[in-house]
């Protein structure tokens, strides 16, 4: 019974941890500009990360190899190095965007300059990471993120036009470049690679064995699946409240309005707290994902469980990433612009890290009986094709739409 409770708590934390600033930005803007017509893109992204996470979690449980160990082993040093550098680059942009998001939300609570909150936010996160054990961090940010369900409540509160929602499940045929840019962005925002590096490394940290494969599958399916409901909630709420009024949510404060309009001050506070925890949690995950990647690739000691002195270079790596993320923000770049770039560029790099994991997951020499079964095989390859298509379309769409500026 205790085990079931632990597993459930883990999944609940995963649900709350699903959303990050990329999802907040893309889902609300998609709803505001295109109503319900982009809803189909969210399940595609959610199933995608479920597939990628399940495979990488299974590989971690059976072979004890997290993603960048797989990459170094399968691709060798020079090709692996290219993938590492590309991953670190997009990871850094993402981390910077998340820190920026934390600062913006803090500004909505208190009045102080952005740069001060960026610095305080980063220091606060670093302190939490330093003194809190691994599981505690995930619980803290995961449960806090659950308050984002206020957006789902808001979406249902206004009683959406279910007929239009039904139409939104299928892509619109004659549609603009901007429409497809948002489709790419929505899929990319759900499929952020740092989340999978973090997840597979966490599996190794927690000492997963084949006995944990069920937990892995539940995390991937239930955790991310229900997390995807949060994304849809954002889009549907925006479709109802922003689209008719022609409001463009180009500030996180506007996003919070979606909860304030139906629920007043309570809704606003819940929304802001949810955003703070979700974005903060994402910043932690992104910084660790970068440190995991470097340390695993190079062969250093790594892991939160080792304590900072037990894995010094690993610790320096995530501290350095926080510093670099802050430095990028200090250039004055708009965090929401940064978010869009980080999401779109992440999906471009994604096939490079997805394919090695897929190839290991299906490899009986490494996985034995736990190699990809029928479903995983089909979905695994299907998503590789989807990712390649999305990756190829991403940059042209980014340029053609001027990063969603139209």
């Amino acid at each position: 019974m205790k085990v079931v409770l632990r597993i459930a708590l883990g999944i609940i934390a995963a649900i709350g941890g699903f959303v990050d600033i990329g999802d907040l930005v893309f889902n609300t803007q998609a709803g505001a500009q295109f109503g319900y017509t982009l809803m189909w893109a969210v399940p595609i992204g959610v199933v995608g990360i479920g597939v990628y996470a399940e495979m990488s979690g299974r590989v971690a449980a059976v072979t004890k190899r997290p993603v960048f160990d797989v990459i170094r082993m399968r691709m060798g040093l020079s090709s692996g190095l290219v993938v590492l550098v590309a991953s670190l680059f997009v990871n850094l942009l993402t981390l910077s965007a998340e820190i920026g998001g934390v600062a913006i939300v803090l500004q909505l609570f208190f009045d102080a300059p952005f740069t001060l909150f960026a610095l305080l936010g980063a220091l606060g996160l670093i302190t939490i990471i330093w003194f809190t054990p691994f599981e505690g961090i995930e619980r803290l940010f995961g449960y806090g993120g659950l308050t984002l369900f206020v957006f789902v409540a808001a979406a249902l509160h206004e009683q959406p036009d279910w007929h239009a929602v039904g139409h939104g499940v299928v892509p619109e045929a004659p549609s603009s470049t901007l429409y497809w840019y948002f489709a790419v962005g929505l899929i990319a925002a759900a499929l952020m690679p740092y989340e999978v590096y973090f997840y597979s490394s966490g599996g190794v940290e927690e000492g997963w064995t084949p006995k944990d494969l069920l937990v892995n599958r539940l995390n991937a399916i239930v955790g991310y699946g229900i997390g995807g409901v949060l994304s849809l909630g954002l889009m549907v709420a925006a479709a109802q409240l922003f689209e008719p009024a022609g409001v463009e949510p180009d500030h996180l404060g506007t996003v919070a309005l979606l909860a304030q309009i139906p629920y007043g001050e309570t809704g606003l506070v819940l929304a802001l707290l949810g955003m703070l925890f979700a974005i903060g949690g994402a910043a932690v995950d992104a910084s660790f994902a970068a440190a995991y990647s470097i340390a695993q690739f190079a062969g250093w000691e790594w892991g939160k469980y080792r304590r900072p002195s037990g894995a010094p270079r690993f610790t320096c790596a995530w501290l350095l990433f926080f510093a670099l993320g802050l430095a990028i923000l200090m250039t004055g770049i708009d965090p929401l612009d940064l978010t869009e770039y980080s999401v779109v560029l992440s999906v471009v790099a994604l096939p490079l890290t997805y394919l090695p994991v897929l190839l290991i997951a299906r490899d009986r020499t490494f996985m034995g009986d736990y190699a990809n079964g029928q479903i995983a095989r089909v979905l695994g390859w299907l998503y590789f094709v989807i990712l390649v298509v999305v990756a190829l379309a991403a940059i042209p769409l980014l340029l053609a739409t001027n990063a969603g500026g139209g």
């Binding site: 692996g80 330093w130 250093w300 000691e301 900072p308 037990g310």
Partner: protein
């Protein structure tokens, strides 16, 4: 360890772990001893960023040397004699400790400053 295996497929780029379970580098290169016409045997494993330049394609080798450093034995590259290797499975396990083989030195040197910090 299997009686027969392939170096690139099974040994190169694998994680090295010492007797205490500490991760202390990867198999970045392998030294083979012998010559054409004589038996060629595994002499030792090489680990460290100083090996990177030799593994990177020639056009980028100069850049790699600038970024990662040249091969300086004892500094940027450490050699693990083959008899020190206990087993080759998912990781390469050693009979001895990292400190005795001069592996993972950077982690050891940074350990003390971190231990002095609260929560470190």
């Amino acid at each position: 360890m299997d009686d027969r295996f392939d170096l690139v497929y099974r040994l190169l780029d694998e994680q090295i772990v010492d007797v205490d379970g500490r991760r202390c580098g990867r198999v970045d290169d392998i030294e083979l001893v012998g010559a054409p016409g004589e038996p060629l045997r595994i002499g030792g494993l090489l680990t460290g960023r100083g090996t990177y330049a030799a593994r990177i394609p020639r056009p980028f080798r100069g850049l790699a040397r600038t970024l990662f450093g040249a091969d300086v034995r004892g500094a940027t590259v450490q050699r693990v004699p083959w008899p020190e290797v206990e087993d080759v499975r998912a990781t390469v396990s050693l009979y001895g400790r990292a400190v005795d083989l001069a592996l993972g030195r950077d982690d050891r040197e940074l350990q003390r400053p971190f231990q002095r910090l609260p929560g470190g």
